[in-house]
Symmetry: C2
Subunit: 207 residues, 2 copies
């Protein structure tokens, strides 16, 4: 289908194929389901031969790993870039923007939370480890924000570790539900709920 390696394709062609495979995988994994997706189908959908597939990936799981990492990285970048612009804003504003950026990023395409919070769960030990890593990162993020709020006297001084993990879980649960819902819930309300929840969670009295 594609013309030979005419233009400028030493390994740009490989990169393009990789991209086509990832795009097709996002579609296939979230419609048919990861387990039910055959490598053959994936290749057909991407317009790439199985031979090329194995040139880019060692197997189906590595594709999922890549997608999962990419989605999380993208969301994290959004959040970080927003927060950098609010370096010395008050804690409430920062939390407001943080959650808006996060929810905005992940709900920009319903397939994103579907892949991240449904398809990529319980697949393998390696994927589970990657999930853990990201929960840690997000929880650390929230924890830092909470401690920042505690500095300002908005929240009491205490250990926010468990609270942070719980909030990450709340976001995950809400987005998993959001993604499954028909008709779709408004993403704004999800963000708003998380804002209220997080503020209430960290400002509550220590015991």
């Amino acid at each position: 289908m594609a013309r030979g390696y005419g233009g400028v394709p030493p390994e740009q062609r490989r990169a393009e194929r990789r991209e086509k495979l990832l795009t097709a995988a996002l579609e296939l994994f979230t419609s048919r389901g990861y387990q039910q997706s055959k490598i053959t189908e994936l290749c057909a959908l991407a317009g790439v031969s199985t031979r090329n597939f194995y040139e880019e990936f060692t197997g189906k799981e590595q594709v999922l790993l890549s997608l999962h990492a990419r989605i999380n990285t993208l969301a994290m970048e959004h959040v970080v870039s927003v927060l950098e612009k609010l370096a010395d804003a008050d804690p409430v504003t920062r939390i407001f923007q943080l959650l808006g950026a996060f929810v905005g990023s992940v709900t920009s395409d319903p397939r994103l939370p579907r892949l991240n919070y449904v398809e990529a769960v319980g697949v393998s030990a390696e994927l589970e480890a990657q999930h853990q890593e990201w929960v840690d990162k997000w929880a650390a993020f929230i924890e830092a924000e909470a401690e920042h709020a505690a500095q300002g006297g908005l929240a009491p001084r205490r250990n926010f570790r468990l609270t942070s993990i719980a909030l990450v879980g709340a976001a995950t649960g809400l987005l998993r539900e959001w993604q499954a819902h028909d008709p779709p819930l408004p993403a704004d309300q999800v963000a708003e709920e998380l804002r209220g929840l997080m503020l209430a969670a960290i400002t509550r009295p220590a015991r």
Copy 2:
């Protein structure tokens, strides 16, 4: 291995085999992982032949469905039985006991949350539907408690739907983390965190 159908086994024997299979499945699915578990292994571990397996279940997935339903049902029964004894206690006490009973039930064996929140995710549309059902049930439960608290003036009057779903997500996330953690987190702290979070979530001002 077992003696023939001597004693009292018209279909009690079937029930026993079913039980042995479920017990072995809980162990196997949570150690090796659901996907990696072969029916052969399951039968070997249970001490049951594949023939008998297909007499009780249509396949691996139905076993998982049964386990998932059983774990949730058990937890729900615990919670209901506790709340029935507190019919006219104050909302805070009810919430305290509710979460204690729930966390106590699900953390009584680390394999329970592992199966429920990791292995049983993203397996099939049917399992996903069953998950949805249970999230609805638990959310409705929490919602009712929140409205009860609103009656007493403890919480403002508002729609608690999203908050309830978020709290279910928080519990899920926390238990998923609990189950994966080494060394294990104290279950008490998880329950305590959820109590604080739920109270803060529903008593927070309406906007």
